[in-house]
């Protein structure tokens, strides 16, 4: 059904063609916690988040550690713990997602590459965990494809019969990647797929994401490796304290950063060891202690009085979006 609501979404997504395959709007996650015995408190860890994924495009999410990047991935998959509440809307193609409908499409249409090896079943051999991702072919063919995929990541065929505890950290990461890339999902979410990989494996992984996108998958890559993001992503979203401060073209993250709008994005770029290696004083606000105004107020070099009391909305700038009153 075509509604007015969808029309506005279409307009908003103008920088790229077509409808987003997947979209989250005004999205938030909070956890209820008990403190001092019986006082219940809501802890807002993600607030006002907008993200759009398109067919054949890679969106990288970069940003500070503890800004809620992994929680976003878990929220999309519907695997947050029981004390979490989700706000806002999620759309998959034309359909608004509910808890029940997420459960129906996850693992089929949407795949997650989790951050840690702990997500493998410790009691099941690696090979059968990989081949389960392949549907609709005979068992022998599944095994052949699984071993072929493992070989691409220089995993020996004998690893097929290993249990997860026999894998090193890097090998486990390659197994997780193989599972996701063999499935015929439409949306691939990768949560920190690269840390600890050496350069040849990193190059292989990044190339495979690009290939997956070129085959028509929509890819969301959560990372703090800006360099890796620039190498393969089409667009980069910058996360801070549970919100997106900027969404920009990936190319804006190279050179001197003059193409970037938000002061936090600029600071991220300047902190890279190949740039100025320049830290920014201060810390990210804690969830439960978020400022009333702009989330970046405390550390911002261009702040003004109004940033302290009101939180800027996301607005379009130079083909991207930025959440700042003064960024130009």
């Amino acid at each position: 059904m075509y509604t007015a609501d969808m029309e506005t979404r279409q307009k908003k997504s103008s920088p790229e063609d077509g409808m987003p395959v997947f979209q989250v709007m005004n999205f938030g996650v909070s956890f209820s916690q008990y403190e001092n015995g019986i006082n219940r408190k809501e802890l807002h860890v993600i607030t006002d988040l907008d993200i759009e994924l398109y067919e054949g495009k890679i969106l990288a999410v970069v940003g500070s550690s503890g800004s809620g990047k992994s929680l976003l991935a878990h929220a999309i998959m519907g695997i947050l713990p029981g004390n979490a509440t989700i706000y806002g809307k999620m759309f998959y193609r034309h359909e608004e997602l509910t808890r029940a409908s997420i459960a129906r499409i996850r693992g089929k249409k949407i795949c997650l590459i989790p951050q840690s090896v702990n997500y493998l079943d410790p009691l099941e051999k690696v090979g059968s965990q990989i081949s389960r991702a392949i549907n609709g072919v005979p068992k022998a063919e599944k095994k052949r494809r699984a071993i072929e995929m493992m070989a691409r990541y220089s995993l020996d065929p004998q690893v097929y019969d290993y249990y997860p505890h026999q894998l090193s950290g890097g090998m486990a990461r390659k197994v997780l990647l193989s599972i996701a890339l063999l499935s015929d999902c439409e949306i691939l979410i990768a949560d920190e797929p690269t840390p600890g990989l050496d350069e040849p494996s990193l190059a292989e992984v990044l190339q495979d994401f690009r290939l997956a996108a070129d085959e028509g998958k929509a890819v969301l890559m959560i990372t703090h490796d800006i360099q890796a993001a620039v190498r393969i992503a089409d667009r980069i979203a910058v996360f801070y304290a549970g919100s997106t401060l900027e969404v920009a073209d990936a190319k804006a993250f190279s050179g001197d950063g003059s193409q970037l709008c938000h002061p936090y994005s600029k600071a991220l770029l300047q902190a890279m060891p190949q740039q100025d290696f320049l830290p920014l004083d201060g810390v990210q606000p804690m969830p439960g202690d978020l400022p009333e105004g702009c989330l970046f107020y405390e550390r911002c070099p261009i702040r003004c009085e109004d940033c302290r009391c009101s939180r800027p909305q996301s607005r379009p700038v130079r083909g991207g979006k930025v959440r700042c009153f003064y960024a130009a």
Binding site: S64, H224, A271, Q274
Partner: protein
């Protein structure tokens, strides 16, 4: 003072050796990079230098002597995953001050907020926890720091912030640092020389 590893060989159980006849030295005040593909024994060498593992063959000498196992070890190791290096049942203040009490100024420079001191490890993010783990290791008795992918899990700004504190401190106290990493830009930025392990 010098940290010296001589003819180190090591293998896990009956597998083929991870390290064979490795020689490695660091002087105090020096920052040395250590890099190699995954599985070549970088972390193993780090653990041997810091006394967590005993080599099958060879010796590790600090200032010409073997380190006293009953005293504070002059070689301190900081791991990649801070959440695995802290006691989940201790509050942050107790974790930070386990070996020494860092001065206020260093706590501030490291970007540790006073409000975090009374929190449990599970309430802080990886970047926040790692600041505690690094500062905890910078006791005046620490002569060498082994940074095993110390900032790999952290965002760029936190990474630069932590390294600024550590390198300033190392220069002032003549501490030696071994930086284990895959990030060539980081190594080039920090180190005066880079050692590559071969198979």
């Amino acid at each position: 003072m010098r940290l010296e590893a001589r003819n180190i060989s090591f293998s896990y159980q009956d597998e083929k050796p991870v390290l064979s006849d490795i020689d490695f030295t660091v002087e105090t005040g020096e920052i040395v990079g250590l890099t190699a593909p995954s599985g070549y024994g970088k972390s193993t060498l780090g653990k041997i230098l810091a006394g967590y593992l005993k080599p099958d063959k060879g010796t590790v000498l600090v200032d010409g002597k073997s380190a006293d196992v009953k005293a504070f070890h002059p070689v301190q190791l900081v791991f990649q995953h801070p959440e695995k290096a802290v006691n989940p049942r201790w509050k942050m203040k107790k974790i930070l001050t386990e070996a020494w009490v860092p001065p206020e100024e260093m706590i501030r420079k490291m970007g540790i907020e006073q409000g975090w001191m009374n929190r449990w490890p599970a309430e802080l993010s990886g970047g926040e926890l790692q600041r505690f783990c690094v500062l905890r290791a910078l006791s005046p008795q620490t002569k060498f720091l082994i940074a095993d992918e110390m900032t790999t899990m952290l965002d760029m700004i936190t990474q630069a912030q932590i390294w600024r504190v550590v390198t300033e401190y190392a220069a002032r106290k003549e501490m030696g640092i071994v930086v284990i990493s895959h990030d060539t830009y980081l190594l080039k930025r920090l180190c005066s020389r880079i050692v590559r392990l071969n198979e």
